[in-house]
């Protein structure tokens, strides 16, 4: 909608004003690592940290945590009466979301909202959230969003996009809500100059170039077909060999949406039902009551992950259920690089 500039000096003032009305979540440093964290009285807000955090790649924890917590109470039945879970209505703002995490959110949107049945919890979390996304000026060795036709700057979902530039921040309001947040919360915003805009363009083309250097081998345009025809069990088995089956890659993945429902009894009076993150690598994941297991071997389950992300989801929605964030091999103890498999397939 419009472009604004806010100086580094005025940033903390603006964030403080946001905090009065909203719960604010932004990337924070912990021992040189970034995490999405709620802003509260304890973590000190320093502009210096914020500036550097925005220039880094995505935080270590996936954004999905805030829309689908690892363990979420979804209801229950106590003394034959439905237990209703109260919704938290506090409006909130998530700042510094990179395009890879936005893409993860888009996948969850397709699964949880744009289907026959809607997930009421995801719907509610989305409705109370304003998203302020950020450019990703310095892609790192683990990044590969360019291979999946994604850009190192926000393209979707955001209400506002921020780019850290010399002396301050460039704000681009995308939605009406975002525009309101800029013009009605602070009077220190001024219209962006042509110079500011040119600087952002330069930052973006630098990031794109850097990504191209990191990932020189591009993926086939017919990736989904290649995966479909890669039926040899040995291929998947060989690549899965070094996997230690910790399933960290699936839990930390911003696009993985599988879950398990389980009940906790409440003093013989009934139960509460929880929805927790699940991973398709578990042996019992697809096992049926009688004991038959359609994916009994690990190689089959390993292949299933690629089928899910790069084939079935792609056929259904015309984009991959992978955002190129690189968390899966940043976390991998077996050093399995998903890029290598995608290129080889």
């Amino acid at each position: 909608m419009a472009l604004y500039f806010l100086s580094r000096y005025h940033l903390t003032g603006w964030l403080r004003k946001l905090k009065e009305k909203y719960q604010v979540i932004l990337p924070q440093y912990y021992e040189a690592k970034l995490y999405y964290e709620k802003l509260n009285g304890e973590n000190v807000l320093s502009e210096e940290n914020f500036y550097h955090a925005l220039r880094k790649i995505r935080p270590a924890n996936p954004l999905k945590e805030f829309f689908f917590t690892p363990k979420l109470k979804v209801g229950g039945l106590v003394e034959n009466k439905a237990v209703l879970v109260p919704f938290d209505d506090t409006p909130r703002i998530i700042i510094g979301v990179k395009n890879c995490d936005l893409h993860g959110l888009r996948v969850h949107e397709k699964m949880y909202l744009a289907a026959e049945y809607q997930d009421p919890f995801h719907k509610h979390e989305r409705s109370r959230t304003i998203i302020i996304s950020a450019d990703c000026p310095e892609p790192e060795e683990t990044c590969f969003c360019n291979l999946l036709d994604l850009k190192p700057y926000p393209e979707i979902i955001s209400d506002i996009i921020i780019t850290p530039i010399t002396g301050g921040y460039l704000f681009e309001s995308i939605s009406r809500v975002g525009e309101d947040l800029i013009i009605n919360t602070d009077h220190n915003f001024r219209a962006a100059t042509q110079e500011n805009i040119a600087e952002r363009a330069a930052i973006r083309s630098y990031a794109l170039e850097k990504l191209q250097k990191i990932n020189q081998k591009s993926l086939s345009v017919e990736l989904s077909e290649h995966i479909k025809h890669k039926t040899e069990h040995e291929f998947w088995q060989t690549h899965a060999l070094s996997c230690v089956e910790c399933f960290g890659c699936l839990l930390i993945c911003p696009t993985c949406f599988c879950f398990l429902l389980y009940d906790v009894p409440i003093n013989d009076k009934g139960f509460e039902r929880y929805k927790i993150w699940d991973a398709c690598y578990y042996n019992a994941y697809a096992r049926v009551g009688g004991g038959a297991n359609p994916r009994a071997e690990f190689g089959q389950r390993f292949r299933n992950r690629f089928h899910c992300k790069f084939m079935n989801f792609y056929w259904e929605h015309k984009f991959y259920a992978c955002s190129g964030c690189g968390r899966c091999f940043a976390v991998c103890m077996g050093k399995i690089d998903i890029r290598k498999i995608l290129v080889e397939v």
């Binding site: 039945l77 034959n80 699964m111 049945y117 039926t231 139960f271 009551g289 359609p294 899910c308």
Partner: protein
Amino acid sequence: MSDNIYLPEPMRIVRRYDLTEDVRFFQVRPVDMERALKLSYLPGQFMMVSIAGVGEAPFSISSTPSRPGLIEFGIRKVGVLTEQLFKLKENEIIGVRGPFGNGFPVDKFKNKDIIIVVGGLGAVPLRSLLLYCLDNRDQFGKIYFLYGARRPAEMLFRREFLELKQRDDLYCYLTVDKDDTGRWTENIGVVTTLFKKLTNIDPENTYVTVCGPPVMYKFVIDEIIKLGIPKHQILMTLERRMHCGVGKCGHCVIGSIYTCIDGPVFSYWDVIHMKDLI
């Protein structure tokens, strides 16, 4: 169903008895009578049954929507949840979600002949279809019911099906692999041996539905193909680990198919085009 797709509704067990040594029949009803009468479903659909703190699992509905008010299940004792289910008595409450799944396309069956082929526990979902067709008898052509069990004692709803043999608007053929009682008056042999009784089939005008143990499918389908029935008119209900029931959690995925919303009823055409379906 309420807005919260994960929340079960309380249902009361109103009747239960053993069908065989390890399969028990459960008749349940939503605690709220108004809801009980409104609950509609299709033959072939399933529901998620849960017991407080034990777990939840999918079970095929065995009753027919043409007789509303009560939901019936035939449940085999195989695991933790079913073991607990077997301990429950009348008037106890269980949690139920659903109905889920696509069910049989009964509208397409109208004015067509129907062959129902059942092996073992497959009688549970297909009894729903059979009773539905019989309750709406004027809407369908000829109805054939072929059921094979291992022994007479393992035949589910044995008395009910034997009584059906008295009817003149249905061809009901029952068989057992082995008669250990010496009093079995019906056919002896596997279910495919009943196919020789099917004469004068009009293939283009016939739908076949199959449900049974995995080993049965290949042999039965060979016989059906011999009858010349088109592949898209052969329907089967498949078993996968349905968990959320609403196409979200990922457990029942086969390729791009979510068994819980795209199935559990698939045509033979789907099956030969999808790897790993059976």
